[in-house]
């Protein structure tokens, strides 16, 4: 995927020169290995800062909500589905956007890689299928498929669902993927074990809200956790408050989450909060046949009524 970079700079340069857009949203190299950061280019002479590789896991749709100018945005499969969600939810107009589709082969998991090598990582480079990690005293060659972010390993929509032009030809979609193996396992646990499982999962949470801030769905001007009149939930690290935050955050993403993994990627303590959003994704899929953000012409599962909606829970 690092081969996309030149093409992207050309596209961005062309769009800015033609004044077709006011701003291009992409990625540039971060100050540390495996930490590319979002980049907003407004002048044609600045397009050289744009890059693309397997460290572009941040979801760029996050930067679109309520923008007024014309924007070109590079969108992988998941970003494109969040863009669709933004359009459906009136957070941005379709004709404000020039969507440049990026066929994606997955993003790599920096936490996993850091755990696999000894010493500080100085440089990470890649080819199509391999990742080379350089530390002060060794070089390690890793198979990219072994170090993918978990959501990317499970991804079934790698090609953008909406685009005005593409950076490259579509990639092959993964098939025969069981997206919900872990979710099934939790569902089968005894009630008390479930409670304990989530206590353990969430216990390291420091309530930094990086997961919320990284998520394109979380665009509320004031999040329920920040309200003080009334205060819906305690603001400390009491386990019940932490759980309430996570439960409600997941619910607010129900039927909207694209499993882009930005939340998990952003978490400084490595909590897999996607175990909550994925359960809701699974329920939406099973009960309403709904997958978020596939087409701007479809209304979301939670805002339409169908006569055959499941209702066994109403007693």
């Amino acid at each position: 995927m690092s081969g996309y970079t030149e093409k992207m700079r050309d596209i961005a340069g062309r769009l800015l020169k033609e004044c077709a857009v006011d701003m291009v949203i992409g990625f540039r190299k971060g100050t540390m290995p495996m930490m590319n950061e979002p980049c907003f280019v407004t002048k044609p002479e600045d397009v050289q800062s744009l890059v693309w590789d397997s460290n572009c896991g941040i979801n760029l749709a996050n930067y679109l909500a309520n923008r007024k100018e014309k924007i070109a945005i590079f969108a992988k499969g998941c970003d494109s589905r969040n863009i669709v969600t933004h359009i459906t939810e009136n957070k941005i107009e379709r004709d404000q956007l020039h969507i440049v589709g990026v066929p994606c082969t997955g993003m790599i998991d920096k936490r996993k890689i850091t755990g696999m090598v000894a010493g500080e990582i100085l440089e990470v480079s890649e080819t199509e299928n391999t990742i080379k990690v350089k530390t002060s005293d060794a070089e390690t060659l890793l198979d990219k498929k072994d170090v993918l972010q978990q959501n990317c390993a499970l991804c079934i929509h790698r090609n953008p669902v909406i685009h005005d032009e593409m950076v490259a030809d579509p990639v092959q979609e993964q098939t025969d993927i069981d997206r919900y193996a872990e979710i099934h396992k939790i569902e089968e646990m005894e009630t008390e074990d479930k409670w304990r499982f989530f206590d353990d999962l969430l216990s390291p949470c420091i309530r930094c809200y990086a997961c919320r801030n990284a998520c394109p769905l979380c665009y509320c001007p004031t999040c329920f956790v920040d309200e003080s009149k009334p205060q819906w939930v305690g603001k400390g690290q009491d386990p019940i408050d932490v759980r309430t935050f996570h439960l409600l955050r997941a619910y607010h993403c129900a039927g909207r989450c694209t499993d882009c993994g930005a939340c998990e990627r952003a978490c400084p303590v490595g909590i897999n909060m996607r175990l909550l959003t994925r359960k809701l994704e699974k329920d939406c899929q099973e009960q309403f046949g709904w997958e978020a953000g596939l087409s701007p012409d479809q209304r979301p599962a939670l805002d339409v009524y169908k006569a055959n909606d499941p209702e066994a829970f109403i007693k």
């Binding site: 939790i186 009630t191 008390e192 479930k194 989530f198 019940i240 909550l276 007693k315």
Partner: protein
Amino acid sequence: MEYMGIERDRLHMSWVSSAEATKFIDVVTRVTEAVRALGPNQHFVKQKAKVA
């Protein structure tokens, strides 16, 4: 809620019209019985902050 470890019978959801008094009584009776059988709720109960 069930997925996070709340007992299945603790939470109930029903539609009752203001004209359906009998249904209301029926629902309340069933809910009370189901919840009583489970005993007091242990989860989602916030303990008082411990002060050193």
